[in-house]
């Protein structure tokens, strides 16, 4: 499966009429839908890069919805999951939500509720994917820094003055200024505040 250009709604349900009707509804609402009759079928064709969300039936033979959720988590997938069940009890829904489910819907489900949930899930997926992309870029920018520049960056985001940094590094203030300018340029930021935000996003802390 090659990643489709837009988000895809993956539907996994062993109950064929249910699977077909939900797929129809989502398509009519303009979503791209991929339907599977069992968790196994889905796993065979699963591509972590594919964006969208997973609409998962809770009660299925062999591998249930909750089990699939665990399997995906183990695989590091962050595909948002909406559970859909004909009858759900409180304990099951709590467990599902704790494990990161976006929503827990019961059949028969109203189209608006379903579409909202799907949209939220897709949005969440999109946001996640965007964040992932930004982090990737920040890390790439960080990778362009020389070790000295990276040292200087750590001191800068820790809030130290150039003079202090020069003293700590055993160099002169002018040199620190040059490194600092290079860091700002390489990280493509114009202010200190901007730089601090970027480094925080990628989990870097100052010295």
């Amino acid at each position: 499966m090659t990643a489709p250009p837009g988000p895809t709604v993956f539907v996994v349900d062993d109950y064929a009429p249910g699977r077909r009707s939900i797929s129809r509804l989502l398509r009519a609402a303009g979503f791209v839908v991929a339907a599977f009759a069992s968790a196994q079928d889905f796993l065979v064709q699963y591509d972590p890069a594919a964006c969208g969300c997973l609409l998962l039936d809770l009660a299925m033979p062999d591998v249930s919805g909750l089990e699939l959720q665990t399997i995906l988590a183990d695989k590091g997938s962050f595909l948002p999951i909406i559970f859909l069940t004909a009858h759900g009890d409180v304990s099951t829904s709590v467990r599902a939500m704790k494990h990161g489910a976006v929503d827990f819907l019961t059949k028969p489900v109203n189209d608006e509720d379903l579409l909202t949930a799907v949209r939220v899930a897709i949005e969440k997926d999109r946001a996640l994917r965007r964040e992932q992309a930004e982090l990737f870029e920040i890390r790439e920018r960080l990778a362009t820094l020389t070790p000295r520049e990276r040292e200087v960056l750590e001191y800068v985001v820790a809030g130290k003055l150039n003079k202090q940094i020069a003293s700590d590094l055993g160099t002169v203030e002018q040199t620190v200024k040059v490194h600092r300018a290079h860091v700002m340029q390489k990280m493509k930021v114009h202010s200190l505040a901007e730089l601090v935000r970027l480094t925080q996003r990628c989990g870097m802390s100052g010295r």
């Binding site: 109950y15 009429p17 939900i22 398509r27 009858h87």
Partner: protein, 749 residues
């Protein structure tokens, strides 16, 4: 001494001896005058012998004449005594002849003493010596015969006539032995004697008078007869003694028997009002051994309630002569009254007045007690009891019978039993009854049939009847024990209703446990419908007109709606309440329906179900919903039992098979769980017994009731490897079984 003297003396001695014997006999039996007369006659005979000897030895004609004259005295005595003897002994001979003989003889005696020298001779001229044997000679008279001797001889002729007459009379009377011996001897010897005397007197033969020997013969003959009589009498006396002994023994035996039978024999002298009764009888009535008894004394011991009745019976007997029979109570000084049965007969005199009553009395207290006990037992019996004789007439009923049929006792006694049989059964009832009498034994009536009794008010009552034959003195009686089973029928209906209620309750409970599963079943199609419909709405709103897609959506909506309807129908059926439905049920369909009902539950518990359903199973009759209920319970229990197993091991097997050559079907549910503890294999079917945390413990007990109501069996066994198997059987009704056999034969061919 000459032989003549010896012979004549012996003759005289013989006469005297006989005279002595007869006198002795007469002394012992004073009433028998014949012996006295005979004794006198014998004495006269002895005298006659003496005179005859004197005549033989007479030496002169004068002496001879005098002796002959006096010899007339013993002759008279002999004649008169013999006449009297004949009259006394033979009780025959005309009286006037007797008087004539005696009168004539007496006249001869008188004339004898009138004439000289005597009646025989006018004159004896001389004595002639006639020589006899042994050189002896005897005197024989020679003289003129006196014509008046004819008077004496006429008397002798009359005597013979008298003898003949008496002999004939006695002969004719039937006294032949006596007539022959006595009469014959009298005639024979007197004829000889008289003939000889006549011949001698008229001088035709020249011999002495020898009448005394004839007379001895006569006496001997009479003596023979008398001694025969005496022997006869002695025999009679012995016989009498013997018969008296017999009588005594019979009497004793009878008394013994009477005593053994507790019979008191009594006799009531009506005229003197005196009652004689045996000792046993006195004990029976509580009377002292020497107490004087009369009718009043009898009245006094009678129970006041019985007195009038008994006296009436006695009066009736005295009046009509009918046999007396009465049963009454006798009041004893202490203790309970004694029941006595009395029988008796009356004897009347010639004028038709009652003389006496004889009879017997018997203690019947035990019988009466037994009868009373029988009556009490019948009365106390919890069911209605009716006794019927061979004609079908009711002879006994108890209070319960009155209550069941609404009749009074008096109305039922004597009526035909068919009165209590509803009209539609009546025509066959007499037939059944006769059939029963032919083979009477204790058994329930009308097995396999429902029986009804007809009450007085015309309503019918469902009953059960047990029949018991009772052999009595009055013939075969049948005691019918009748139980009113309306209440039981009602209770059976009530029990069935309660069973049905409980089954329903259990289903509702099960539904509660299954509600998630059922909601799922319903929500699935509803969800599909909603989503399809909303998809269509969106498509239309978007302006899409893919008709093929829309058609498919609508088809799916329709089919899913049907699916939902089916689920609701099953639910409604499951929850339906009320009477058990008896329909033809295909057990395999029941299995499939159940799996549909609880599919989700099984899925959510990760239980894999395998089914092995035999083909061509016979159809059974029953309630499909209740059978589903049983199967749901068994399957849910089986899945619960496997909750702790590894997911891979949660397997369940449901089998259906024919059993007993198609007479039944058997359904088995096998799990792989922990099995049933051996000691609880029966307990698990008891109400409120449960091994689960949730649940009321009603499931299996309800299942067993349902299967019982279907005449089947439900049981559990532990499998050889692991887990338990629950089996239940359901019988196939006969007609369908036949159908099945026919079908399977076709299949075989």
């Amino acid at each position: 001494m000459s032989w003549i003297i010896i012979l004549w003396s012996m003759n005289a001695a013989a006469c005297l001896t006989l005279a002595g014997i007869y006198l002795l006999v007469w002394c012992r039996q004073r009433t028998d005058w014949a012996y006295f007369v005979l004794s006198c006659s014998a004495v006269a005979g002895a005298a006659l012998t003496a005179f005859e000897l004197a005549l033989l030895e007479a030496q002169s004609a004068e002496d001879y004449a005098v002796i002959l004259r006096w010899a007339q005295l013993p002759v008279w005595a002999v004649v008169v005594s013999v006449v009297i003897f004949v009259r006394l002994y033979l009780r025959a001979g005309r009286l006037w002849l007797a008087w004539s003989v005696c009168g004539m003889r007496t006249l001869a005696l008188i004339l004898n003493f009138v004439f000289t020298p005597n009646l025989s001779y006018r004159q004896i001229t001389r004595l002639k010596q006639v020589p006899w044997w042994g050189g002896q000679s005897v005197s024989v008279p020679v003289g003129v015969t006196n014509p008046w001797i004819l008077v004496a001889q006429l008397s002798l002729v009359l005597l013979i006539i008298f003898f003949v007459d008496a002999t004939v009379t006695a002969w004719r009377r039937g006294d032949r032995q006596r007539a022959l011996v006595v009469g014959g001897a009298l005639i024979f010897f007197s004829a000889i004697a008289i003939g000889q005397v006549v011949l001698v007197v008229w001088g035709i033969i020249q011999v002495p008078f020898l009448a005394c020997f004839s007379y001895l013969g006569l006496i001997a003959a009479m003596g023979y007869e008398l001694s025969i009589d005496m022997l006869h009498r002695a025999k009679l006396a012995r016989e009498l003694a013997a018969s008296e002994a017999d009588l005594q023994e019979t009497r004793e035996r009878m008394e013994l028997a009477a005593n053994a039978a507790d019979l008191g024999m009594w006799m009531w002298d009506v005229a003197r009002d005196d009652i004689w009764i045996t000792d046993k009888g006195r004990m029976l009535f509580g009377w002292g051994a020497s107490e004087k008894l009369d009718l009043d004394r009898f009245k006094n011991v009678l129970h006041p309630e019985d007195r009038e009745r008994v006296l009436e019976a006695i009066e009736n007997t005295l009046r009509t002569g009918a046999e007396y029979a009465a049963e009454y109570r006798v009041m004893l000084p202490e203790g309970q009254p004694r029941w006595v049965a009395g029988w008796g007969q009356v004897e009347f005199d010639r004028d038709g007045h009652p003389v006496r009553m004889r009879g017997a009395a018997l203690d019947i207290t035990k019988r009466k007690q037994a009868e009373e006990q029988f009556r009490l037992v019948v009365e106390a019996a919890p069911s209605a009891m009716i006794m019927v004789n061979t004609d079908g007439c009711i002879t006994l009923v108890n209070t319960q019978a009155e209550a069941v049929f609404g009749y009074d006792r008096q109305e039922l006694i004597g009526r035909c039993i068919e009165t209590l049989v509803p009209e539609r059964f009546r025509c066959h009832h007499a037939e059944y009854r006769n059939g029963y009498l032919g083979n009477a034994r204790a058994r329930p009536m009308g097995a396999e049939r429902e029986l009804f009794g007809l009450r007085k008010d015309g309503t019918e009552v469902p009953i059960e009847i047990g029949l018991n034959p009772i052999q009595t003195a009055e013939g075969l009686l049948v005691l019918a024990s009748i139980t009113d089973i309306s209440e039981r029928k009602q209770a059976e209906l009530e029990a069935a209703r309660q069973r049905s209620e409980l089954a329903h309750l259990s289903r509702v409970t099960t539904l509660g446990e299954l509600s998630g599963s059922l909601a799922h079943e319903l929500n699935l199609p509803l969800g599909a419908i909603l989503s399809n419909a909303q998809a269509a709405q969106r498509m239309l709103a978007n302006g899409e007109t893919d008709l093929a897609e829309l058609r498919e959506i609508l088809n799916e909506i329709v089919s899913e709606d049907k699916h939902a309807g089916e689920v609701i129908r099953r639910l409604r059926l499951w929850l339906q309440k009320g009477e058990v439905q008896q329909h033809s049920v295909h057990i395999n369909k029941v299995v499939r329906d159940v799996l549909k009902l609880i599919r989700t539950d099984l899925i959510s518990q990760n239980v894999i179900v395998n089914i092995q359903l035999a083909r061509n199973l016979p159809v059974i009759t029953g309630d499909a919903v209740q059978l589903q209920q049983v199967l749901v319970n068994l399957v849910v229990n089986a899945s619960d039992a496997m909750a702790d197993c590894d997911i891979a091991e949660r397997r369940l097997l449901i089998c259906t098979k024919a059993k007993d050559c198609g007479a039944a079907v058997i359904v088995s549910v096998t799990d792989m769980g922990g099995g049933v503890p051996e000691e609880k294999k029966e307990q698990i079917f008891e109400p409120f017994f449960t091994t689960k945390d949730k649940g009321m413990g009603l499931g299996l007990s309800v299942c067993r009731r349902i299967i019982d109501a279907h005449h089947g069996k439900l049981w559990a066994i532990n499998n050889a490897d692991r887990g338990a198997t629950f089996h239940f059987t359901l019988p196939v009704n006969l007609s369908q079984k036949d159908g099945l056999i026919a079908r399977s034969q076709i299949v075989d061919e």
